[in-house]
Amino acid sequence: MRDRAIAILRSLIFVAFSLILCAVVFQFAGYNAPQMLTAVVDGAFLRPGAVEQSLRWALPLFITAVGVGISFRAGFFNIGAQGQFYVGAIAAAFAAEALRGGPAFIVIPLIFLAGMTGGALWALWPGLLKLRSGTDEVIPALRGNFLAGLLLVYVTSGPLKDPSGSGQQVSSRPLDAAYRISNSLGLSPTIIGIAIVVGILMWVLVNRTSFGVLASLAGRNGTMVRWQGAKLWQLGLSSFVISGALAGLAGTIEFMGPNGRIASGFLPTHGFTAILIALVANLSVVGTAAVAIFFGGLASAALYLPIMAGLPAAAIDIINAAIALFITARTHVEKFLRLGRRSS
């Protein structure tokens, strides 16, 4: 437990590194770096309403990220979270369309079921390809992201097209208010409740079931677990599918909550940010929650930066990219630092 906390703290040091790096770069680009950093903190947590706004972004990210973490633990590199997120939202939108007019207490659960199933199925085929023919899961899952993006363009400009749309961005017809789970600010007791339930269930699954222990063994050494009599596909594929279902759940929440509709190209970095969160959190569930709030804060600050520091909102993407870079290089950097210490 303490080891894990230390590991997460170490990750956060790298996050701090990247913030400083970005500040330096922005300073040289002619912006005011201290003002930018203050704006980030203000926009994330201090400004009135900032905490709510940060949570609005953090909760769906947390749900996707905790799923990504589970697949990573089991040795499946689920880079396809973005696609599963989209397909989940699309499936939810279709279900909403089909069930239009039904009583909310039946329709809402069915929409959730459809969204999670959509995400799970979108994870299933790269997983099956890996198990059936030994294909690397990364490439199909990555391509699945593009396919899902195109699928989203198709359904929003075809079957689910909103005829009254402005034409600037095609989108689906808005969801009936009766089925919305939050207003457009995007934070409601339902969403908080779902995130808490997901968090608890996943924590139990990872830390308190045979499945969790064995999947993490399988992720580190599949051969050893096979010699113990495990069926790797059971552990690996189910982790992958759980991961897809959670991304689909996040897509459904975005559809039924803050957005109320799906639009082509909406939230295009959700899945990748979630992967980043899982990695920064070292795949621990509790850590994922903390890190998701941090990244939710960055997303919230993105809306605030242009006003306060004159920075484009895309500055947050640059910060995210810098964090990704540092986290990817983490082991090398740590090795480098340790070697330096030994020889000095």
């Binding site: 080891d3 139990v204 830390n207 308190r208 079931t209 045979s210 499945f211 222990v213 064995l214 993490s216 063994l217 580190r220 050494n221 051969t223 050893m224 677990v225 096979r226 010699w227 113990q228 009599g229 495990a230 069926k231 059971q234 552990l235």
Partner: protein, 529 residues
């Protein structure tokens, strides 16, 4: 040899440390030119490190290396090579897909550019003929027997007129007949004036070939080089083993140092179970060919409770496939497998394990343990897999049980949360024993259970297997070390090319077992049961 000629190879005060581990400690030794020198010691004695320092592969923390009187820069393979020292590794490094001619050319000094198959064969024919190596140049390395692969490695080492040839554990993968061939080759090299340094660990082999003997123990030189004529096998055994196995039974000690006894004292203790039905029966089992080893061809061994059956054979003759077939990790094309009287041919490994199958796998660090996972996770994997996947578990409780078990097995560790990779080989193997040997074990497969372990750990593994046997478990022991097999097996079965090539009972005759391993003793099959 003039008495004034400088030593062919000398090390002065060589110390090698890897982190906190001292592999070699102040070793000084000089080898006279033109002789066959043996460096002996148990696993972990520092032999391989010594060979690597001498050949420039490892930079010592301290000390100097001299070749023919010249001090060379340590830790530089090119310099050692230029000075005439070549090392043949324990595990061969020939590209398996290359033909013999290509393997010879690969890495050889000389021109680049275009080659013709014929030209290459011509180029190397004389060199190999000069070393009495007969081989088809168009054959691929992977299709050659290990003995031939090894002789090609030696031929490669001798391309550049090497003065000193170091062979690291060259006998480990060979049959007794193959060892004889190798030694004959080494003697011819000596006649050509090459100084040969053999890294060995069996007294029988050392006394059969070496002119001088040097003994390493725990990273220190404890004797030598002394003339082989001046030292007795008993004294050598004591020097190699040290105090580590005082009070061990003498058979074990002889087996540890390869001091071939007669193995007449048949272990008893299993008589109690002699009337019971066999624990494992394979009936004419054949496997589907795959990339992981020779397929089985109608193999039908059976093992009774309270019996250790040893599987002998040159590596790669189907031993691993046999284990995989019993573990449901290789596809059967024919035959049935019964465990404790129950047909398990179509059962999964989990079901077979539930029926009492336990496996100490070949590759401790790959198949046996997940090195980056914690000890308690590794320890609990077998039991967790016996229940439903969604069963709730309490890590604190598992860790307490794990602590108890690891303490009982005498594992030296810090906390059950530490990574399995942080343990020494012997302790890691004990974790596997703790997991695989329990009261419900009916059949224990022990595949190369002592490979790479030091004396104490090896003796411990043997004692553990005997204890399990005496409690009524059936044990299938796969080993390429005949001394180990002879010491603790109640019967020995020899495998060759995926078939059973002979079955032997104590007292074992190393010659006839060796003959069966190479196929020369086909007549022995069934003669001794």
């Amino acid at each position: 040899m003039s008495i004034h000629s400088p030593p062919a190879l000398a090390c002065r005060d060589v110390t090698v440390r890897y982190g906190d581990v001292t592999a070699l400690s102040d070793v000084s030794v000089a080898f006279e030119p033109g002789l066959i020198h043996a460096v002996v010691g148990q696993n972990g004695a520092g032999k391989t490190t010594f060979a690597r320092v001498a050949s420039g592969l490892v930079q010592p923390t301290n000390g100097a290396v001299e070749i023919a009187g010249q001090v060379i820069r340590t830790g530089h393979v090119r310099e050692s090579r230029a000075a005439g020292v070549e090392l043949v590794h324990q595990s061969f490094a020939l590209p398996p897909s290359f033909t013999v001619a290509e393997a010879m050319e690969f890495g050889a000094p000389g021109r680049g550019g275009l080659y013709s198959r014929k030209g290459l064969a011509e180029k190397w024919r004389a060199h190999l003929a000069g070393l009495d190596i007969q081989v088809d140049f168009s054959k691929r390395i992977r299709d050659l027997p290990v003995e031939t692969q090894q002789s090609i490695e030696i031929a490669r080492a001798l391309i550049t007129d090497a003065k000193v040839l170091i062979l690291d554990e060259p006998t480990a993968v060979l049959s007794p007949a193959g060892i004889e061939m190798l030694f004959a080759r080494v003697r011819r090299l000596k006649q050509r004036g090459v100084t040969v340094i053999l890294i060995l660990h069996k007294i029988r082999e050392v006394l059969g070939i070496a002119d001088t003997i040097t003994v390493l123990r725990g990273g220190r030189r404890v004797e030598g080089p002394v003339s082989a004529a001046d030292i007795s096998a008993d004294r050598l055994a004591t020097l190699i083993v040290g105090d580590a196995v005082k009070g061990q039974n003498p058979g074990d000690r002889d087996a540890l140092v390869g001091n071939g006894g007669t193995h007449a004292d048949v272990p008893s203790g299993h008589q109690r179970y002699a009337s019971l039905a066999p624990a494992l029966v394979l009936s004419a089992v054949s496997t589907v060919p795959d990339s992981e080893g020779a397929p089985l061809d109608k193999v039908s061994p059976s093992i009774r409770p309270g019996e250790i059956v040893g599987i002998a054979g040159v590596e790669g003759n189907g031993q691993k496939t046999l284990v995989r077939a019993i573990a449901d990790l290789a596809g059967l094309s024919a035959g049935t497998i019964a465990l404790g009287g129950e047909d398990i041919t179509r059962k999964s490994l989990a079901a077979r394990r539930a029926a009492g199958l336990r496996i100490i796998p070949f590759e401790r660090n790959i198949e046996g343990l997940s090195l980056t996972s914690s000890l308690w996770e590794n320890w609990s994997a077998r039991e967790l897999l016996q229940g439903p996947l969604l069963r709730l578990v309490n890590p604190a409780r598992i860790r307490a049980l794990c602590d108890g078990s690891l303490k009982r097995w005498g594992v030296h560790y810090h906390t059950s949360a530490q990574r399995a990779g942080s343990l020494s080989g012997g302790n890691a193997q004990k974790v596997i024993l703790a997991r695989e040997i329990d009261a419900d074990a009916k059949l224990i497969i022990a595949a190369q259970p002592t490979r790479g372990l030091d004396i104490g750990a090896t003796a411990f593994v043997w004692e553990s297997l005997r204890a399990a046997r005496d409690k009524g478990a059936a044990i299938l022991l796969i080993s390429s070390d005949l001394d180990e097999l002879f010491d603790i097996s109640d019967r020995v079965v020899v495998m060759l090319s995926g078939r059973v090539a002979g079955a032997f009972a104590a007292p074992y005759d190393i010659q006839s077992v060796g003959a069966a391993m190479t196929g020369a003793g086909a007549a022995a099959t069934g003669a001794q049961r």
